[in-house]
């Protein structure tokens, strides 16, 4: 059944109101804050709903956090009056994470939420929340299990807000992240089974930083040991071929021997595509 524009607007307003009500029920909240669209919007709305004294946005800092994400997290927090803290996380010290199994994110998020749980306890913040949204249901998200085990709430998801609605709301609030491409951690560029090491993460970061400086915006540098496989958004593919000389030089200098451009472009979760059903952990299936 097709809804009318008035019904859609009413539905959206109800979702926004539901989010604000949830936050007010929390009273105070610590938000896992990556500097991405979702957690930035959540933090900003939480400050409006609860007052800055009852909100703390915390970024987990490790080698898997891209420098541009750290910069965005810090700058947005400063500009929009969001209390912000950076906490060091040590997921790379955990051999279960470093081996890069298909549930790698579970070990990373376990470390993150444990560290953030300590901060919440120290500061007297009652609830810990993440930025999962309604569109994340059905994705391969083993990290969500770690959150669920520790009572981490997902108010955007609970309110039924999807990514498009979060982007629109971010734009209304003047948040610079409203049109920011999805930006998972740097380890997501490594195929499962290739160990996550600080050196490999640095190679990926250096190559992606160079591509950003060349003007590209929505892409991934997938790390296949000696080979960097670039997945570019379809609108940036032709430009990537035009700038192939510069791209090749920069990515080689980041520490790869071969640089190739994937003909099928950027696909979200392309390294998950061959996982078996027993390896997939979907957000909607987490209890």
């Amino acid at each position: 059944m097709v809804s009318t524009p008035q019904e859609r607007t009413g539905n959206l307003q109800a979702k926004r109101q539901r989010l604000i009500e949830l936050l007010r029920e929390y009273g105070s909240v610590l938000i896992g804050y990556s500097g991405g669209v979702d957690s930035v919007l959540l933090a900003r709305v939480a400050v409006d709903a609860l007052g800055a004294q009852n909100v703390l946005a915390v970024t987990g800092k490790s080698e898997s956090l891209a420098s541009w994400m750290e910069d965005t997290a810090r700058e947005v927090a400063e500009t929009h009056g969001i209390p912000w803290l950076e906490v060091e996380t040590r997921e790379l010290d955990d051999p279960r994470y470093a081996a890069n199994p298909s549930n790698r994110c579970y070990f990373c998020k376990s470390e993150l939420w444990d560290r953030l749980g300590e901060v919440a306890a120290e500061r007297g913040l009652r609830v810990i929340a993440d930025g999962c949204n309604a569109d994340d249901v059905g994705d391969h998200r083993p990290g969500a299990v770690a959150g669920a085990q520790r009572g981490v709430r997902s108010p955007l998801l609970e309110a039924g807000l999807n990514k498009a609605e979060l982007r629109a709301w971010s734009r209304e609030l003047g948040l610079p992240t409203w049109d920011q491409p999805a930006a998972p951690c740097l380890a997501s560029r490594l195929p499962y089974g290739i160990a996550v090491t600080p050196e490999r993460l640095r190679q990926i970061e250096r190559a992606e930083l160079a591509l950003r400086r060349l003007g590209f915006r929505d892409f991934r540098v997938r790390h296949h040991e000696d080979t960097a496989r670039l997945e570019m958004h379809s609108v940036e593919m032709a430009e990537a071929v035009r700038q192939s000389g510069e791209i090749h030089r920069e990515v080689i200098s980041a520490g790869f021997d071969t640089v190739v451009l994937d003909l099928e472009g950027y696909r979200r979760g392309s390294l998950n595509q061959d996982l078996s059903p027993t390896q997939l952990v979907q957000l909607g299936s987490v209890q």
Binding site: H224, D226, L230, M237, A238, V241, S244, L263
Partner: protein, 92 residues
Amino acid sequence: MSSPDPRVQRATDLLRELGIQGRVEVRGERGDIACLVLPVERRGELVGENGLRLAERLRGLGFRFVALDLDPAAGAGAVLGALKLERPGDRK
């Protein structure tokens, strides 16, 4: 000495059939990337629909990813004919 990868000959035959006299190399830690080596001036022809159709056919040979080598020096001297990429429905 390892035996030649049979996928390479099949992929090369497919390129030739499509009018692309480029080269195919196997890359990646698991040998799952078909790397197409073409002269710089012909790479743009494989962006978009042409590339998507070619990738689909090469994946059918057992590769997981299909990609263009971006080395400016790679593929120099290869002679290419006109691309003859057909739509999947056109296949006999």
